[in-house]
Symmetry: C2
Subunit: 110 residues, 2 copies
DNA sequence: TTATATATATAAGATGATTATATATAATAA
DNA sequence: TTATTATATATAATCATCTTATATATATAA
């Protein structure tokens, strides 16, 4: 049984994987990176992103460091130990889902 | 920009594609077929399926025929003309989404 | 005759995303 | 120098979708 959250919550997986690949990142940076990597096809909205980041933090998957760029606050996020293994798991789950769906949507049986 | 409904609403796409491949089907049959094709990995719930079927019908993508098996009612669904082209579009959109996400989640850059 | 499978349907509740709004600094163009 | 755009985070209202629970009824197998 595929985790239902996968059907909706790909956002979490994307955020986690970006942090796994790029070390530490801040929210705004994440939206830019996703837009860049997807050649504009995916644009994360802040109303979705920040709640997800706060939730991941509350769950212990990511940790924060606050930095000041001039007078402007910037919150950097990094994966925790548990966050790292959880990311792998989530990415695997996603590809499992894709394989299943690809099979369902590709063939044209009798 | 990838359609946001894709991130959530793969259920609609699955239902449409099954109807495209198998001609006419009824609700219960669809759940069984999805379970079979996904080797038990995806189990559609009726609380999700029937509202989707009703919505697709209201939108003109599918049409119904009622049949009686003994005394039991069975509602067969078939794609309409617009439903058929819409299905193609939805399936294409899904694979576009998969390609983008695969790129996002696969590489491990610097 | 009792449990399971077939068959459809809706309502309550949870979750997740969009849109709107708020606040503030920094950089660039007019 | 002033207006606009980019940077940066955050929350609330709203909407769509999915899960869980519930209701109803027939057919079949143990």
């Amino acid at each position: 049984m595929i985790a239902n959250d996968l059907l909706k919550g790909t956002l979490r997986t994307i955020v986690l994987k970006l942090l796994a690949d790029n070390g530490r990142m801040y929210g705004y940076e994440i939206t830019k990176k996703v837009e860049e990597l997807s050649t504009g096809k995916i644009k994360l909205t802040f109303g979705a992103l920040y709640p997800v980041l706060h939730k991941l933090e509350a769950e212990g998957h990511i940790a924060t460091e606050v930095e000041y760029i001039g007078k402007r606050v910037r919150k950097y996020y990094t994966l925790t130990e548990t966050g790292r293994s959880w990311t792998e798991q989530k990415v695997d789950e996603f590809f499992d889902f894709v394989n299943t769906l690809t099979y369902l949507l590709k063939p044209t049986p009798a």
